[in-house]
Structures are given as C-alpha cells and as structure tokens.
Symmetry: C2
Subunit: 343 residues, 2 copies
C-alpha cells in the first residue's frame, strides 16, 4: 500500500464545530472545467448613486429618508425575515408537522457613506467604527434576544443585491440550527478536555503554522483543518473572549488591522473584489447571559465561493447536498497560495 | 395579538429527517430584486456533438472510447472524488485534527444516447431502463459499500458541466453526514412511534392533499412541510420499501411515470429546462444489510435553485450558512402554483 499523502489521496476530515465530516479529494483539481462561468463583478460602482437606497440622503422603499451619515449607519430592514410581533402558530397536532413562533428584528448596517469602498479599502479607524457598532448591536439586541447574527453577503455571486458596503444583523427569539450545533460541540469538548475547543485549536495552529493565513498579537486567521469551501477561513482571538462586545479597545484595533489584511489577500488572490459570506459566532445572549458559557470562544467564519479563478466557483450541489461536502484541494495547499500570490 | 396566518406571519418549521428548523417568512417575496440574474439555459443542444465525451462512440479524457450505446451507459468517472485504494491516513494525534480513510468508486451514468433529451422528454420505457440500472448499481456496489449515493446535477446553475442527460453514482466505505443524520432521525422516530417516519408522513400528506404535487397508485410527490428550497419536493413510495432495488416491476413503471409528470411540471413552471440537484436515499447497504433497517423508507429529494423565474434563484448565503435556512414563501403556496401553471 502506498504511503498516505493528503495532496494525492482522498480522505475524510472531522469538523469538531459541526460534528460532521468533509471529503478532501485534492486530485479532483486536475479535471477540466467546461461548466458554468460566472459574470465578472461590476467594474465601476459610482461613489454616490441617487437611486441607491443605501446612500446618504436617499429615500428608501418605505419612504424613509437616510440621514447624511458620515460613518456607519444602521436601519431596520425594509423587508425583514423576522419581525418582533409575529403571532404564535400554537401547539402542533402531529410530530411530523411541527412549527413554532419566530420573532426578532432584522437590521441593515452600512459600513461607510461611499458605495465604491469595501472593508479592505477603508481606513483602519473606519473599520474600528464598524467593529464598535457590531459590539453595540450585540449588547443592545442581545439584552433580550438569545441570538444576534451579524453577517455580510459580499458580491452578487453571494446573493447580495446592493454594491454599497453593508452587512446585516438579524436577532431572533430562538437559537438557530448552526449556533445550536456549535454550542453543543463546544460544550462537549469543554466537558471532556477542560478547555475551550477553539482556544486550544488556535494554540495548535499558531504552533503548526501550516494553515495560518494572517496573524497578529491578538488574532489569528487560518484555513481550518476541516474547511469545506476552498478558501474558507476562521478568524479567532488568541485570548479567551466570549462575545464581540467583550473585546478591548486594543483588540478591536488589532481586529480592524487583521480584517484589512485578510480581505486584501482575498482580493489579490484572483485580482477581483472577492465575494464571500461571513459572520460572527459568539456565546448566546438574552436568557443565556445568566448561564455558564466558558466553553464558547468568539470567532468569524468566512465562506468565499470561488474555486479556480474569479469566474469559476465551487458548486456545493448533488453529492454535497445529499451526502457530504467534498473539496478539491487540501486546506494546506490553499494556505500557501494566497500567501504567494498576494502583496 | 393577530390570528396566525402562515402566509403572512414568519414561523419556524421542524425538519424531522434532519432534526433542524427552517425559517418561513412568506412576506419576503414582496421585496424588490435588483441582485444577480442568471444566464438563460443553453438554448440549442445538438443531439450528437463529436466533442462531447458522453456521446456514443466518442473518446473520453483518459483515451477510452464509448460504445455505440442505445440505452443507458455506465462508466467510471475519469476524475473520481473516491477511489478504491486510497491509503489510510493513520491514527490521529489530536482530537481537533482527525482524519480517516475514504475509499469508494464514482460512476457516471448516461440516461440516453441523445444529448438533446432530458428525463421528462424520454419515453416511459426508457426511464424504466434508468430505474432498473439504478437498482442494479445499488445491488452491485451495495454488496460491499455501506452507502451508494445516486444523484443528478441538472443544469449549469447546479454545477453540471455537460448537457448530456446523465447522473452520478458514488459509493463509499463510510456513511456520509446526511444519510447518517437521516438514519438517526428515522430510527428515533421508529423507536418512539413504532412506525417508519416517512410511511406515516406519506399517509398524512395523502390525506391532507395540501402539499401534494403529483400522485399515482404507488407514489406520492410533495413539497415537504419543512422544505428549504422554494420548489423542493420529496418523492415517496406508498408501500414500505427499503431500497430502490426492492421496487417491483409495477412500482418501477409507476415511478417512471410519476418522475416524468413531476419533471414536466417543473419544466412548465418557468418554461425552462428546470435546474435541480436530486438524489436517492434508502436503507444503508454493505455491513448494514445484516442489520434491522425497518425504520428506513426509500425516497428521493429534489432541490431546485430557482425562486422567482428562470433567471432569479434563491441564494442560500449569509444567514442560511451561519444560522439557519430561510424561505420566502410557504410550501403550501408553492404547491398550488406548479399545479396551476402546468399543462
Ligand atoms: O462531478 P462534476 O459533475 O464535474 O461536479 C459537480 O458535482 C460534484 C458532486 O456534487 C461537485 O463536487 C462539483 O462541485 C460539481 O461541479
Ligand atoms: O436580505 P438580502 O440581502 O436581500 O438577501 C440575501 O441574504 C439573505 C440572508 O442570507 C438570503 O435569505 C437571501 O436569499 C439573499 O439574497
């Protein structure tokens, strides 16, 4: 039998945050691609567009007028998936037809008054303001809601319908599937090993250095050992931090810096404004504020869809939807590429 | 408090096959769409293309020549994600860096010698041949492999790189995430209620008729109560059947018929060759053939990406990837639409 080489031989890797497996088949990168090619990203975005509902001073769908903001700007989503007052569907009659009440709020947060910038192009101080606002929203909404999901869909390829730099913040009266699973996995690890899963993971990766993309005194960004998307990264503080609102002033400045570096690497990789969905996971809030959340460690997930170039993405389709996620190159191969290709 | 109306008020629904929830926010359909618009599907596919590696008589990437087949044709994937002989990565050194051996085979199966047909356009007898071949492959590969995943990616939007009608069959030495979860859920339901989850579900849906899209004496296709994709369907036999290879001759003929009807409805909905990923889930095989699998019921999942038209799909992005899946109209609304719009 041949000696195992992860770049040559398919294998499964365990995702300890989701208690699931991913199939790594590096040799698949060699196959020819005659499939769908994406549209190139919008070339020219004007700094101000009188028709864009996210620009300062413009009128939105519901008739409200945006202020002439000069930093971040937060408002209620005009077409929210979650509203604070939805009635309760009532008790279910059959275990296969269960529903329950969903209540919450959906906010949109513009990062900057200009439409033609992105986080990596913004000044460090401007990114710090975004982080401060995230922390504020987690405190404010988290006072009552058990989960506050901060996420950014960047690029048309990721379902983003407006080029103005912005993210969304959806707070809910329930713990959604993904954080519920992550909570379970982190708790089980803590109970078994006596330390937070992601704190131990960051220590290991900082030593190994095989999958580290960027690092600083307070933060670490790695392609996780169990990454499913080709260029997926995990952004972690080195200190034990439960929620984004617990970050110190220094840690926020350092975070602004490492985010800019990480996103610049992404943009340089295929010389395109890199599309992705990203979001923060931290200890749950609302009623959970009372409980013990020592098993939690704050982190951000970046899920970019591209695979081979700015125009060819990875399709998570048939086998991935019905069986398990499959990737076409190893996380270690990824790590070396952005480093080499970027400035 | 207002009276609950699922078409007006967001709520969560429980997916008993995945032990997870989906957020239904029907009022979101009203929002304007200025996001990405897909390319229209390829208009003209020639019946025979001398450069297409799937056509009869043509030479594939590895130099092999296809026979002049006149029905189905099965061959080994030239760029397989799973190979029978990959070496074992060996024991892991740390619980956060776990890998394990993945072995298997990947086959491609052409449905028909012509590139310009799809399942709904094929003759019923030709579709029966496809079903017979699926059953044969499950028997053959399932003799040793615990899981045989039959799946079809249809359309460039679903990562399919070749317009010739075909599916794939990947067999593995492990139970992948999705079937492992489904096995757990079906087993727990059976233990608690004393009957197979999906058999009871089919009975309930056949009575309610609210979400039935097509039905026949042996089969039922419904938009499941917990559907995540807008036009998702679940295809179920009425009888208790563990695996596709257990279907009788009559059930196979009836299946060919209902598949043609379901897929015709899809094609008529937006007047386009409807893209989707689909696949079969049945009781596990290989070593599991010895065990008791009474909790299992054979079924096929159809996951089509379209939302509003042939050109606007649903993006499962930020909130969906990081929190939970969200849909923009109720499964009951969907059900009535394909019925009305199709011939
Ligand atoms: O094998 P194909 O058709 O080239 O590839 C397609 O299906 C595979 C299995 O779902 C996916 O991993 C690929 O991303 C997709 O492009
Ligand atoms: O709210 P938006 O940006 O219009 O919509 C986008 O993000 C949402 C949350 O991830 C998704 O449900 C939508 O499918 C996507 O298009």
């Amino acid at each position: 039998e041949a000696t195992f080489d992860p770049k040559e031989h398919q294998h499964l890797r365990y995702n300890p945050l989701r208690d699931s497996w991913v199939l790594v088949s590096a040799h698949r990168m060699k196959r020819p691609w005659a499939g769908q090619v994406e549209k190139p990203a919008e070339e020219h975005v004007p700094r101000y567009d009188p028709c864009n509902p996210l620009c300062p001073g413009n009128t939105r769908a519901n008739g409200e007028v945006n202020p002439h903001y000069d930093s971040t700007f937060v408002f209620e989503n005009d077409f929210p998936a979650l509203q604070p007052d939805a009635p309760d569907p009532g008790p279910h009659q059959h275990p296969l037809f269960q529903s329950k009440a969903a209540r919450g709020v959906c906010k949109v947060m513009c990062f900057h008054p200009w439409s033609d910038v992105t986080l990596p192009l913004m000044k460090k101080e401007e990114v710090v303001k975004v982080i401060d606002k995230w922390a504020e929203l987690v405190e404010e909404l988290g006072a009552t809601y058990p989960w506050v999901q901060i996420f950014e869909n960047k690029g048309a390829m990721m379902g983003c319908s407006n080029p103005h730099p912005h993210c969304q913040v959806w707070a809910s009266n329930f713990l959604p599937n993904e954080p519920a699973l992550s909570d379970r996995c982190q708790r089980a690890y803590y109970q078994k090993h006596g330390e937070p899963l992601l704190l131990e993971y960051a220590k290991q990766e900082a030593e190994k250095k095989e999958r580290v993309v960027v690092e600083s005194s307070d933060w670490l960004a790695v392609v996780p050992y169990w990454a499913t998307w080709p260029y997926q990264t995990l952004l972690l503080p080195r200190r034990h931090v439960l929620r984004i609102s617990d970050l110190t002033k220094d840690e926020r400045e350092d975070l602004a810096d490492i985010m800019k570096r990480l996103l610049t690497k992404y943009d340089n990789l295929f010389e395109v404004s890199f599309p992705y969905s990203m979001g923060w996971h931290g200890a749950p809030t609302g009623p959970y504020l009372e409980g013990d959340n020592s098993h939690w460690q704050l982190h951000a997930h970046y899920y970019p869809p591209l695979l081979r170039s700015a125009l060819v993405k990875k399709f998570m389709v048939g086998y991935e939807m019905l069986a398990l996620e499959q990737r076409d190159l190893t996380p270690e191969q990824i790590k070396s590429e952005p480093t080499e290709n970027s400035a």
